[in-house]
Structures are given as C-alpha cells and as structure tokens.
Amino acid sequence: MGENLLYLLPAVPLVTALLSFVIRSYRIVEVVHVAGISGLALLSLGLVKSLLGGQTFFALDGMLYADGLTAILILLIGTVGFLSGFYSIGYMRHDLAHGEVKERDLSTYYGFYHLFLFTMILSAISNNIAILWAAVEATTLGSAFLVGFYKHKTSAEAAWKYVLICSVGLAFALYGTILTYSNAFSVVQDAHKAMLWTELIKMAHQLDPQMMKLAFVFILIGFGTKAGLVPMHTWLPDAHSEAPSPASALLSGVLLKCALFAMVRYYAIALQSVGSEFPQTLLLIFGLLSVGVAAFFILVQNDIKRKLAYSSVEHIGIIATGLGVGGPLGIFAAFLHTINHSITKSLLFCTTGNITMKYGTRDATKIRGMKKVAPLTGFLFAAGLIAVAGSPPFNIFISELMTLTAGLKSGLFWPMILLLLFLVIAFAALVILISETVLGSPPEDLPRGETNWMGLLPLGILFVFMAGLGIYLPAPLNQLLQDAVGVVLGH
C-alpha cells in the first residue's frame, strides 16, 4: 500500500502537469487542475497516515523512500498545494478578467504549478542523494516560470536572480553530495549503497569526519541558499514578491522547507559522523543571523509581499536555530515550527492576493483601512500577521516558546536572549503593519466588499488550522513529529 503510494504520489501531479500543458481551453484545465490537487491531497494524507508510528517504505530499488521527515513534507505539500491550488482558481480568473494574463497563460500556469509540485514531492521522497539534489534543483527550474509569470520588467528581474543565485548555490550542494558519496564509497565499495541516504545514516559513524565536515559546509551553503538563510537569501524577497500570490504561498510555505529538509538529511548524518557541536554551531549562527537581519528588513520594506518574504527568512532562521539548539526538544520545535510557518505564511500570501485584487497595489503606504473595505480579508490578514509575530492564541507562539525552552535547556542563554530581542523587532514591524493597513482610514473612492468565496474559503480553512494548532496539538501530529525527530536522532 505504502509503496504504491510512493509511485502514485509523484505520478499524479506529473500527469496533471502534462495534461494542463496540452489542453487549450482554460475551463477544462481548471477541472483537470482541481482533480489533480484533490488527488494529490488525498494521496498525501493516505501516505502520511500509513507512515504514522515510525513506519518506513521503500520503492524503486530503494531509490524512493518515506519516513517521518518525508511525512511532514508530504503533509505540507498536500495541504498547502491543495488550498493554494484552490485559491489559484479565483485569483487567476480575476487576472484573466482584468487582462493581466491571457487564456493561454492559464494552462501554462497550472501546468507549471503541478510540475513544481511534482519536483517538490520528488525531493521529499528520494532516498538517493544525487536524485535528492537533482530534485531540489528541479524545483528551482519548475518554479522559475511561476516567479516570472507576469510579463512585468520586475518579474523578469526576480526570476533571473532566483534562477542564477539558487543554481549557483545548489552547485555547492552538488559538491557536498559528491563528497559525501565518495566518502561513503570508500567505506562500503558499493556504488549503489553509497548513494542511498538510508545506507549513509547506517554507516555514518564510519565516515571520515573531516570530509564530512567539509561536505556539510557545502551542503549548508547549497541548500541554505535555496532555503533562504542569510546571507544567501538575496533572491528570496524578489522571487516571493513577484510571483502570483498563490505561487508565493507555495514558495514560502513549502519550497523553503523542501530545501531545509534536504539539509536536515545531511544534518542527521553529520550528527553521528562528526558529533553535534560542529553542525549545530553552524546552524545556530546562520539561524540567528537570518532572524536578526530579516527582522530589520521587515521593518523597513514598503511592499507587503516583501515584508512577508523577509518574515519567511526570519522564520527559516528560527527553524535553523531550533535545529542548531538540537536535542529532541529543539528538533521537535523546529519541525513544529516548520508546519506552523507553512500554514500561516500560505494564509498570508493568499490574503495578499485578495488585497492586491482589491487595492491594485502592494505598497503598504497606500493600503489603508482594510477593516472597512474588506473586513474578512482584513481580519485574516491581521490574524495571520499576529500569528507570524509569534503571539497567542496562534500556533507560532507555541513553537517559538518551545525553541526558546530548548535553547535555554542547552545552556544557550545569551543566544536565546538575542533571538528574543530580534523577535521583538519583527513583532513591532508586523503590528505596525497591521495598525497602518488594517486599521487606518480607507481611501474614499474604493468600493467596499470582499472578493469571491473561492478566495476566502481556503483562507478560512488555513485560519482554522492556525488557530487550532495554537491551543491544541492533536495526537497524530505529535506522533508524526516524534517520528521525524526519531529519524534525525537515529532512534
């Protein structure tokens, strides 16, 4: 059952993508698209369910593999892929109606949307480290079109930066991959086994530690670029702000985590091979740096989507900090934060879609009085921002507190105080944003009213997740996270 799912899961978006590319009529493509995302969501949930309790599956001669870590990613890809895919329909119809895009572009959009999902799934389920690298690189290529979707000058610029910087960054990751492979090969003398993560983790303590350190640095730079860690993050605000909002949701919500989890695979190997100090210190430094730099940038940006993009950098930094703190609690916190951030950031990016549809701008100095113009959108936007600011009653509060607790437990008193101070800056930046855009007085000439229900329903569902996880952690999810922690710590 589980093995079949490993085949089916990538097949569904791939087939949907191909169908979308060949079908001309956008009405039919929409139907195909809905079928595709629904199928994907069901299959993901099916796989996650069968993985509960520390199950693992192999397929394709061990090339494909699923465990607790995979489950988290698949859960995110399935849920966010479905919801922002659903949201895309209303959003794209609006763009079509306003002449921003042509009918033909819609087929291409949905095609690339599913291609992008396919590459992300591949990165989540590949056990072969070379395929893992290739899949992450392919996510760049699959999503480059989405970033450059609009025919604006700015989108071309953003797409250029995105592809160039990420490809260069990932070249480093390729080096790391090769080093790891040759390291393993000299241990086992078996080309097939030396490529498989499940074998690597078994022989981790036999690997040459010096080489593994070097490999981990390359991996950190490489996948760190793609995950948006400072100082390799420069492409991120451009790409995430220029993409269509539902695609931004997918980029910020899921893609960053795919790259991050690729790094986590190597982190697990490094923990056993070179001990915990080296990889953890590196992650802690990169994590704190990301949170600090991003916090200031959130404050000074004017474009709301850029603010949100920097907020993603900040949260990736918090996740990296959690991993850097290490231990069962730190890693648990990091994974919980991964899920929480995905939900919240997808909600926010989709909401900005509604806002741009309404106001026709992303400039935070022009968007005013959302509470009167579009109360529901304004409410969701404010709630989402409060959540990413790390305030109760929403989910991110919990995982941030957990990260802090884990940090203090590891005796990292001053780094944690630093983290908290950075978080206050980010908090201030975000509440100021709410204060200006949601509460201020609206422009007189703007018609009141919400966008269509298709643009609100997925957001409502995300909001329920966000608020629900803020006050309760369901047992299956807890189980899933424990499994993932077990995978990393090798229990």
Binding site: A134, G148, W160, L164, A171, Y175, I178, A191
Partner: protein, 215 residues
C-alpha cells in the same frame, strides 16, 4: 607519457581555456571557447576511462560531447543571434581578474591536497583543477556584469563539479549523471529564456541596470 601525466596536462589546459572563456569580451567567441573547454573535459573523461579502467566514463564522455561541446554553445549562440552579439562589461580589469584567478587556483590546490584517502591521490592535480574550475566560474559570475557572461560562469562551475564527479564518483549509477546533466542543461535553457526576456524589457544585458527590486 603515463596516464596520470596526460590527465594532469589536460587538466591544466582546462584552467587556460576557462580563463579564455572569462576574459573573451565578445560573447560569440566566448561560446566557442566554452565549446573548446568542454572538448578538453571530454578528453579528460576519455583518458580517465582508458587509464583508470573506468568504463562508465566512456558513456560520460559521449553525453558530455553531445551536450557540452555542441548543445549548450549552440543554445547560447542561438540566443545571441536573436538579441545581437554583445560585449561583456567587467567590474575589474583583466589583470585584476587574473590575479584573483591565480589566488583561487592556489586555494583549490591547497584544498585538494587535504584529500588523502581517495582515488584522487593519483590525479591530485586534476582534483585541484576541478575545484579551481568551480571557483573560477563563481569568480566569473561575481565580476562580470553581463547576464550571458554570468551564464558562462555557471557553465564553468558546472564543468568543475562534473569533473569532480568523474574523479570521485565515476562508478556511480548512470541515472545520477543523467539526472545531474539534465538539470544543468535545463538550468542553462531557462536562464537563456529569462535573459532573452530581460533584454526585451530592459534593452540591455548589463545586470547593473536591473535595479527595480531593492532591499
């Protein structure tokens, strides 16, 4: 001449050709230079295949010949035909770049020296060159302002990691090499498409002019 000597000689040729790619101002010419370099790379693969009895590398040299010697340069020249041949601007003078390059090559050899335990011991120079090539590609991206020139930089990086792959992991399953190569080709194709759009929107390939997005 022993096999090691041939490989090492060809590897040094790689450095020279990569400097030519970086410093050739006319882009069409640079594309030919790149093709030339890839040919040298193919020759290295071949000699490694012969001297180290690494059969998979025969296939590698064939795929590299098709894709790197012909396909990628052709794609670049095709783009150049569309937008007209360009002259790449550089942030530094040639002499400065060469100075950097020398430093990077020295650095690479120092790094390669630290690899003790592997098959590369025999071809340490080639290993050093592969890292140098990677770093030179990075140098090209950082110092050149022309978008196409940056694509060349990426290609150089790619050649560097390809050589490392051949030295350290020639026995890896073929699927791996195919997967990585496909990604590289697609990356170049997509970059070229975007570069074409950039030229259409901005009227130039000079990346200093792409400043709409800041902060």
């Amino acid at each position: 001449m022993s096999g090691t000597a041939v490989v090492n000689f060809l590897a040094v040729l790689l450095i020279l050709t990569s400097m030519l790619v970086i410093e050739t101002r006319r882009l069409r010419l640079a594309a030919y230079m790149y093709s030339l370099q890839s040919l040298v790379l193919v020759l290295i693969f071949l000699s490694l295949a012969i001297f180290m009895h690494a059969e998979p590398l025969y296939i590698w040299s064939f795929t590299a010949l098709i894709t790197k010697v012909f396909l990628v340069p052709w794609l670049i020249i095709r783009t150049l035909k569309k937008i007209g041949d360009q002259e790449g601007e550089s942030a530094f003078k040639t002499s400065t770049t060469v100075l950097f390059a020398v430093f990077l090559v020295a650095l690479s050899f120092a790094v390669a020296n630290s690899f003790q335990t592997y098959a590369v011991v025999k071809v340490k120079i080639a290993m050093g060159v592969s890292i140098a090539l990677f770093l030179l590609g990075l140098l090209c991206i950082l110092t050149k302002k022309n978008a196409l020139k940056q694509i060349f930089g990426y290609c150089l990086m790619e050649n560097g990691s390809h050589l490392t792959l051949a030295l350290l992991a020639y026995n890896a399953p073929e699927t791996v090499e195919i997967g990585i190569l496909t990604d590289a080709i697609f990356a170049v194709v997509i970059m070229l498409v975007i570069a074409g759009r950039l030229f259409k929107s901005f009227g130039t390939l000079d990346t200093d002019n792409y400043t709409l997005l800041k902060g």
